[in-house]
């Protein structure tokens, strides 16, 4: 079986916890100027509970595409995804995305205040239906305040108009927004791209704090490596190059 090829060295770590997400022989091609370009070529991946994984690779190689594919935000050409051993088709796409939460790189704020943006997930039907499994209760304002402070957003009021935020502030607020929904696996695309050192450290510390035994995080980011290594309990490094995913030794 090739599906656990990547976990050869990690078997002990993975076995200690549950495997949250498994991607099996995932291939993905996209139209480019010169025809169909292979972005992911039979990629196999297992993410275990408690893991923080850093995804590396040359820019333009499709790291973001992999995150989008894992969140079922892009169609696969081949392969399958499993959550806790069950095939992805057992969940609707919206429910799957509450489990595997993608924080996109273009940190988009909706019109309204910072509080409106943080509570945006609770305006959606899926969080008001107990059977969806996404019924995380709506956080109160003091919780929102604490989360903002934890990411050095002291100067941002809950009543601030979201259109007035800087790129770095919006980036952190969109991370908080997703963290509040308590997904099982966080998929972060360049979370520290617009942040200075201190803010980046706080973001990585918050993610490490979030990643308990039954949760995981997969992070794309050039500068994040040191910080992942420093704060993570389980730091795995994966490398995506020319469609192939390989595990890097530490």
């Amino acid at each position: 079986m090739s599906e656990h090829r990547l976990d050869g060295r990690e078997n002990l770590a993975v076995a200690a916890n549950t495997v949250l997400l498994r991607a099996e022989n995932v291939s993905l091609r996209r139209d480019s100027g010169t025809g169909r370009r292979v972005i992911l070529d039979k990629v196999n991946l297992s993410i275990g509970g408690g893991q923080i994984i850093h995804l590396q690779g040359p820019s333009g190689t499709g790291k973001s595409t992999l995150l989008w594919a894992l969140a079922r935000m892009l169609p696969l050409d081949e392969g399958a995804l499993f959550f806790e051993g069950r095939p992805a088709s057992e969940w609707t796409a919206p429910t799957w995305r509450t489990l595997m939460a993608l924080v996109v790189q273009t940190h988009s704020m909706v019109p309204g205040t910072v509080a409106d943006n943080l509570l945006l997930p609770w305006t959606l039907k899926i969080r008001n239906r107990p059977e969806s499994g996404a019924d995380v209760s709506r956080p109160h304002n003091d919780r929102l305040r604490r989360e903002l402070d934890a990411l050095l957003l002291h100067e941002v009021s809950l009543e601030t108009d979201a259109s007035q935020l800087s790129v770095g502030q919006a980036a952190r607020i969109s991370i908080v927004r997703t963290l509040l929904t308590a997904p099982r696996c966080l998929l972060l695309d360049e979370p520290c791209a617009a942040l200075d050192g201190d803010a980046s450290d706080r973001v990585m510390a918050r993610i490490a704090d979030f990643t308990t035994d039954d949760r995981a995080a997969l992070i794309v980011g050039h500068g994040a490596l040191d910080r992942v290594g420093r704060v993570a309990r389980v730091g795995r490094v994966l490398r995506l190059d020319s469609g192939k995913l390989t595990e890097e030794g530490r």
Partner: protein, 262 residues
């Protein structure tokens, strides 16, 4: 209709004289629109004369099938006109548009002729064709605006839509702000003309009735009915068109695919 002053050949020639003056001005000042002005004038003559002949023939034949056939042709022309105006659209919205135009056009036209004007027989061409034409023609603009806007606005909200989807939103929840914007955009021209009517301008139909000798109060009542049914048809048509076509911007797995397909 006794008060109508007959327009004969002399009157038409006199009216055309003004166009000759305008064309002469264009030539003298090298404005360059002489040719298009002449062509437009010829088209006006031909198209309206043809319409006059056709309507006279249709009124004389007085057949329900013929009236329905003419309404169908008008509806199909409207669908193609709207489709031509909506530039940024994904593939496959034709059925949605077709349903929207047919349901709103037919429902509102016959609601007016059967329930308000109470024409006898139900297909009376003298009423059904002009009223149907006004309903379809005037609601077309609003429908095109609403459709254009829903896809244009979603394209602009790309990041926001993907953010919402990644938080577990359904396609409707992700598209909702654009749907609202689009329906508002489709209705604004109608609301504007409802507000300005009678103060800023006298609408063509009322003018026509007055010139034909009708009591201005009767003409006003007719015009009120027409304005209301145009806004009803625009609302109904836009709602159907937008609600049945916004989903074309997504695939079956609730992924936003607008750019890739349009």
């Amino acid at each position: 209709m006794t008060g109508a002053v007959e327009i004969g050949l002399t009157q038409l020639i006199l009216a055309t004289g003004f166009i000759v003056v305008a064309a002469g001005l264009s030539l003298a000042l090298s404005l360059g629109y002489c040719r298009s002005l002449v062509i437009a004038t010829v088209r006006t003559y031909l198209q309206l004369w043809a319409l006059g002949f056709v309507l006279r023939w249709v009124f004389a034949i007085d057949s329900a099938w013929l009236v329905l056939a003419i309404l169908t042709v008008m509806l199909i022309m409207a669908v193609f006109t709207i489709q031509g105006r909506v530039t940024s659209r994904p593939r496959g919205i034709f059925p949605a548009l077709f349903n929207a135009v047919f349901i709103s056009g037919v429902t509102v036209t016959f609601a007016v002729t059967a329930l308000i004007v109470k024409v006898e027989p139900w297909y009376a061409p003298r009423y059904v064709i002009p009223i149907g034409g006004m309903v379809i023609g005037n609601s077309m603009t609003g429908l095109a605006l609403a459709l254009e806007r829903v896809f244009g606005d979603m394209a602009k909200r790309r990041n926001e839509i993907n953010t919402l989807l990644s938080l577990g939103a359904t396609t409707f929840e992700a598209a909702r702000p654009s749907i609202r914007t689009a329906l508002r955009a489709g209705l604004i021209p109608t609301i504007n003309s409802m507000s300005a009517v009678g103060i800023v301008f006298i609408p063509g139909m009322m003018t026509g009735q007055i010139l034909a000798g009708a009591d201005p109060r009767t003409a006003a009542s007719y015009q009120i009915v027409v304005m209301l049914m145009i806004s009803a048809a625009t609302t109904l048509g836009s709602v159907i068109a937008v609600l049945t076509s916004y989903g074309r911007a997504f695939d079956r797995q609730s992924r936003f695919t607008l750019d890739e397909r349009s």
